[in-house]
Symmetry: C2
């Protein structure tokens, strides 16, 4: 049965890194990737909005739902001023497809070596992906002292529980995978741990509900309680601690906006945003998405780092049941990074997007 | 005319670092500090709440308003679970006294040298201090899928304008101060710059209003336009960039919650939260406050770093018109840090709170 992947490059360097990821997928040998791959090119983005008045066309959603087994999303440009009717297509996509968790692995490995750092970072951020301030319910008012605006931040038991479940089950999954590694290759050597991020000292109701719900996922599952450690961290201290001792984190689970900020911060620790992939995960669909943005300053110059997109493609394969194909890609990428010869400018190199992509393909 | 300072140690290490700051203030020689200093001890905090059912007593507010020219606040503990009726006293204080900007200078200098880093960080974070999610308007609801909670995030033209004005005028002030330094001692050598932090790609209404209002402060003032550069940064990229190139920032202005997160992150860059002071500034009152928390894990052991509190005391003097006294304290602290002999455990040393405080006092 073929695997059909929707490709949504969207804006800026999205148009360079998504084709790169496709090329890597097409280079997989049939012994690791037994299924035939079909690709469907789909529209979305700010540029598309400027031409057609809509950022996430119905046809794209229909094709994803009707024809695709998963998708890859590139990156989207932000308008430099308020534009009536525009709404971020990636935020819309997450909501429309109920992709309720954004899974962001941040791993140092080769990149850390390359940049001269020695910290062993192997962190998995689970970002709640459907609510918080991202519900975009905002209103503008006129008051006695001028305009004011109110945005609503929504936290629900339902969404918090799903994110919490994902975090604890991933903590166990990671532990199982680690057990298969020789001890010398394990970055995280302790018991699996989940860090719950919140700011309940200020947001006692919303973040209070978040924290209690995620905790109750833990408390009500004997296996989690027996095998996983849990800790809490206020979001401000989390950013502080993440930079002081990034090796202290295993799985981190956070409401949407905190998760957005933390994952960009974590990317800084491993050398470049151009390395960090993500998967927007729902019960029946996954959209791989590099954590980086559309980088208009370097778009169109064939120097964007394709690795985040390539790793996102591997995450997509992993969650559609093609673990060996995913592993082959992860290994090839790690090897290119470890050799340190062929790297894009964000990592201090001079290679092009094409060269990095071809180096990965050659190893498959 | 004497200067009367309210002291609110509150919880945990607040009770160690506020007395340390007082000791430093009392050691100032009369040629740099011509006014007599009076101190008034005031209650607040989570421990106080546990005994008396109120975290920020009316008497404290009355004393601040009636008797004091400024105040120092220590730190407040967060309850480890939801406690009915409790509300953070520092958030209340900022609101009650209309301390609309939280000014947080993050400077590397001696600390960077001590920790082996070489980055020259000299950043001033202006955090809007009265609204955003800190208005604490939250509601819990029962829905078909279980509980959900809504928090309101408020952004007003009025508050954004005040924060913006503070940012641009501080950018000019910092520039004027730099001009007095020999060129070799200037960390920031370019034109003054203000970085506006927001997330208007998601929060187009609230952060849109923030961004437009701060920009309009700039656009409507010919002096700002002629002498200050302005740039914008999405909050997630801000955290990323801050860690990749912290030397690229001069003044940073942010809505309340982003400012909270960014300033803890920036503290990680200069070696320790124990070094970073802040001033909660209103039109008629200033409350100095170390950026660190109450650190229950090390409280009561005389090992908390008093420098953030001491520098906060200096910021208080600076804004009440005693610039030379403030300068004397800054210099003494810098000298102790540069010598690197007497430092608390957070900086890798073995000195006590008392020893660091006395080392500073001796240099005054
Ligand atoms: C583009 C933007 C809406 C998006 C987000 O904030 O979720 C991006 O920063 C991300 O992390 O995927
Ligand atoms: C204690 C807490 C309410 C406070 C805040 O979030 O403002 C603290 O983190 C700070 O930065 O002063």
């Amino acid at each position: 049965k073929p695997l059909t992947i929707g490709l949504i490059p969207a804006d800026g360097i999205g148009r360079e890194v998504i084709p790169a990821a496709r090329q890597v997928l097409e280079s997989l040998r049939s012994d690791v990737m037994p299924a035939k791959l079909n690709f469907v090119n789909l529209d979305a983005g700010f540029e598309y909005f400027q031409k057609h008045g809509v950022a996430l066309p119905e046809e794209t959603l229909a094709a994803l739902k009707g024809d695709c087994d998963g998708a890859l999303f590139g990156a989207v440009s932000s308008p430099s001023h308020k534009v009536a009717g525009y709404s971020s297509p990636i935020v819309g996509l997450r909501k429309q497809m109920d992709l309720y968790a954004n899974v962001r692995p941040v791993i140092s490995g080769a990149a850390a070596t390359a940049s001269g750092e020695r910290r062993a970072i192997d962190m998995l951020i689970i970002r709640e992906n459907t609510e918080c301030l991202y519900i975009k319910e905002e209103e503008l008012h006129e008051g006695p002292d001028g305009k004011y605006a109110i945005a609503k931040r929504r936290i629900s038991e339902f969404a918090s529980r799903r994110a919490g479940e994902m975090a604890f089950s991933m903590a166990l999954q990671r532990d199982a995978m680690r057990q298969q590694l020789p001890a010398s290759e394990r970055t995280w050597t302790g018991r699996p741990k989940v860090t719950i991020v919140h700011k309940s000292n200020v947001l006692s109701v919303t973040d209070g509900l978040w924290r209690e719900t995620v905790r109750s996922v833990y408390e009500s599952n004997p296996e989690y309680k027996a095998r996983v450690d849990v800790e809490e961290q206020l979001v401000d201290s989390m950013v502080y601690r993440m930079f002081r001792e990034p090796e202290a984190f295993d799985v981190v689970v956070a409401p949407n906006m905190y998760g957005d900020i933390i994952s960009d911060g974590a990317a800084a620790l491993v050398g470049s945003l151009g390395l960090v992939p993500s998967a927007n995960v729902g019960d029946n669909f996954v959209v791989g998405e590099p954590v980086h943005g559309s980088a208009p300053d370097i778009a169109g110059r064939n120097i964007a780092n394709p690795i985040a997109a390539i790793r996102s493609a591997a995450m997509l394969l992993e969650s559609t049941g093609y673990g060996s194909a995913a592993l082959a890609i992860y290994r090839a990428v790690d090897k290119v990074l470890a050799e340190g010869q062929i790297k894009t400018p964000d990592l201090g190199g001079k290679a092009t997007t094409t060269e990095v992509t071809e180096a990965v393909c050659k190893l498959l």
